[in-house]
């Protein structure tokens, strides 16, 4: 029931906004639907806490510890982003960067995007998962190109082509998965693509086929997740799209892609009885962290900067899942949570800053603290959080990851530490002068909607100090599920 509501609300919202989105109340409707979705997610959560895992709709959908918190996260960030985009987009409209028509497109596509992600998270069917991922791409392409600037069109094109092709690889991977599965589960029943069933029989699945499948799936979903060297669409798309979209892309979409990869990894590792997938994940992770750190060093556009930071963090997380084991998996899951919260918060703050400065080039943004303390502190604290300083949760997860890696993967430590150090320097040397110093930016014309920023930061802070028992319980369960060598 809750599940149906959860999926129906954003879908309905998409259709409805497709019709009324242009009206003045479009933004309010958007916010309303997002909040309602979040409400549904909460109801779902309550039920899960009460009753535990369940499957629904002829096993096509399921909720287990691994996706329940991601569902909540998605619904929550979707909700806060909608709240943020309400005034933000209005200002964009006033600045004449948008027309009412495009605003309608924006609102309905936004809801559709949320829907596809929730679908991807809750579906039990690997095929549907693929469909949802592709749909997520399609629903955001036109959002990336919302401003119709040459740069945004270019970014959109790259996004479309690279992710499209990548996803195509994932389809082939799915086909191979199905191929291997139907030999065990039989093709007549539609169970052959249901993850729960696959997970039960993963021991009997044909190893060679699955390893091939994993390659395709990893490359496919990895592209969407922004693993180096498949990440090239990511910074462009993040930088050129409207800020709320950058926030959800970076905060949610990457998580969903990662979720898909990990689901596949569980199956493949189960059938291979070898650590090959883990090693691939670790390799990609380290490569992403290292490359991202170096790219960070030379960024001048603030949204590109944080886009690369997202790549870096995806790298860290996949390294964690690659390491496997209760602690590292726990850390990875925690990191997924805190990263998406923090990164979206940062993008909110960045959005206001860039809007005030009328530029995304960092050299043109100076002394935010003196024009709007809230924006300034929001950006500063968010940055410190994402750089892994306490009391924020990113610190906790990085603490867990590093301390575990020292003993299990000592070879990786130098790369990891060097990358973290470079990333720290690269980001902080840019952010500090933007927040501090003499103001170069005119005062904000409107009241910034910073409730989302601080809401996120407070949650992240809370997770750094205290993790609620049931959340910890989910993490542990999921960590156990993911297993690893």
């Amino acid at each position: 029931m809750e599940l149906a509501l959860l999926l129906a609300l954003p879908l309905g919202g998409a259709l409805m906004l497709g019709v009324f989105g242009a009206r003045r109340l479009g933004a309010e409707l958007n916010a309303f639907f997002s909040i309602a979705t979040f409400g549904a997610a909460c109801a779902l959560t309550v039920r899960v806490i009460a009753e535990g895992n369940f499957v629904a709709a002829r096993e096509q959908f399921f909720i287990d510890p691994f996706n329940v918190f991601l569902v909540d996260l998605t619904a929550f960030v979707g909700c806060t982003t909608a709240l943020f985009s309400r005034p933000y987009m209005r200002v964009e409209l006033e600045h004449g960067r948008l027309t009412a028509g495009r605003l309608r497109l924006y609102h309905s596509m936004y809801q559709l995007f949320i829907f596809t992600m929730l679908l991807a998270l809750t579906t039990n069917n690997m095929g549907l998962l693929w469909v949802a991922m592709e749909a997520a791409t399609l629903s955001t392409v036109l959002l990336v190109t919302l401003y119709r600037t040459p740069a945004s069109l270019e970014a959109g094109w790259k996004y479309f082509i690279l992710c499209g092709v990548g996803i195509a690889q994932a389809l082939f991977g799915t086909i191979l998965l199905y191929f291997a599965a139907e030999r065990v589960l039989g093709s007549e029943g539609v169970t052959a693509l249901l993850w729960t069933h696959l997970n039960d029989v993963k021991g009997q699945l044909e190893p060679t086929v699955l390893s091939l499948a994993f390659v395709f799936l990893l490359v496919g979903y990895g592209t969407k997740m922004g693993l180096a060297p498949l990440h090239n669409w990511l910074p462009d798309a993040h930088a050129e799209g409207p800020t709320p979209i950058s926030a959800v892309l970076s905060g949610l979409l990457l998580n969903v892609a990662l979720y898909a990869v990990v689901r596949c990894k569980i199956l493949v590792e189960g059938s291979l009885h070898s650590s090959l997938p883990s090693q691939m994940l670790m390799g990609f992770g380290l490569l992403s962290v290292g490359l991202a750190a170096l790219f960070l060093w030379r960024q001048r556009d603030i949204k590109r900067l944080f886009a690369y930071s997202s790549i870096e963090h995806m790298g860290i997380i996949s390294f964690a899942f690659g390491m496997g084991g209760p602690i590292a998996n726990f850390a990875g899951l925690l990191h997924m949570t805190v990263h998406s919260l923090t990164k979206s918060a940062i993008f909110f703050a960045v959005g206001h800053a860039a809007q005030a400065a009328g530029s995304q080039i960092m050299d043109n943004i100076r002394g935010l603290l003196s024009i709007s303390p809230t924006v300034g502190w929001g950006l500063m604290l968010g940055t410190l959080a994402i750089l892994g300083l306490p009391p924020f949760g990113v610190f906790a997860s990085e603490f867990l990851i590093l301390t575990t890696a020292v003993k299990t993967q000592p070879w990786a430590i130098p790369i990891l530490v060097a990358a973290l150090g470079i990333a720290f320097a690269a980001i902080f040397r840019r952010v500090q002068p933007m927040v501090f110093g003499e103001a170069s930016v005119p005062h904000l014309a409107h009241v910034p909607a910073l409730l989302p920023v601080f809401a996120h930061l407070i949650i992240v802070l809370g997770l750094g100090v205290y993790i609620p028992s049931y959340l910890a319980h989910w993490y542990r369960e999921a960590a156990h599920l993911i297993g690893g060598f």
């Binding site: 190109t145 799915t174 191929f179 930088a239 050129e240 790219f295």
Partner: protein, 222 residues
Amino acid sequence: MAPLSWDLQLLNVCAALLLLLAFAMLSQRRIVTLVDLLALQGAVLCVATALVAWRTGKSHLYLSALLTLGLKVLFLPWLLRRLIRRLDVYWDTEPMANIGGTMLLGLLIVIFAFGLAQPISALANTSTKSTIGIAVAVTLLAFLTMITRKKAMSQIVGFLSMENGLFFAAMSATYGMPMVVELGVALDVLVAMLVLGVFFFQIRERFESLDLHHFESLKEEK
């Protein structure tokens, strides 16, 4: 060994045709012709699907054959031609340097693909298992096509032919995916094309041509 039954022979012919078409696309310069080739590929795919459906008597394969016919033979080519006319890129050609080299590369890829498909078809219990390798090859060749193209339109064509290859792979390996997935995929392809249509016009507003060299401004400046 016993001679293959005629329908299987026909199926293999279709597979061979697909591969041939893939190569044709790889070497084709004119965009309009590319679209024609795509339509042709769709048609062959449709026939192959129908054959398999007839052979195995799986009803949902007929459906997907119809889907292929409607989508990949009729609608998409029509849409693309219409776009071409509207965007008047009718006479556009790809400035492609040494086709020979590309073909050679394609050849190597085909070999790789067959090697890749070997373990799979060894396990397959479908009567069409021998064609898996070709499906993989078509997919990879389409990928290569996309890499070698400089025009947005022809890249899309490459993208679609990759979709064809995947479809063929699904069919020859497992007699197609479950229906719900098939539909989903078809829907996605459809939506993708629609989005693309919109997209092309947006591009058109900004740039005078659909040439990809406009799309090289977002990069790490030295």
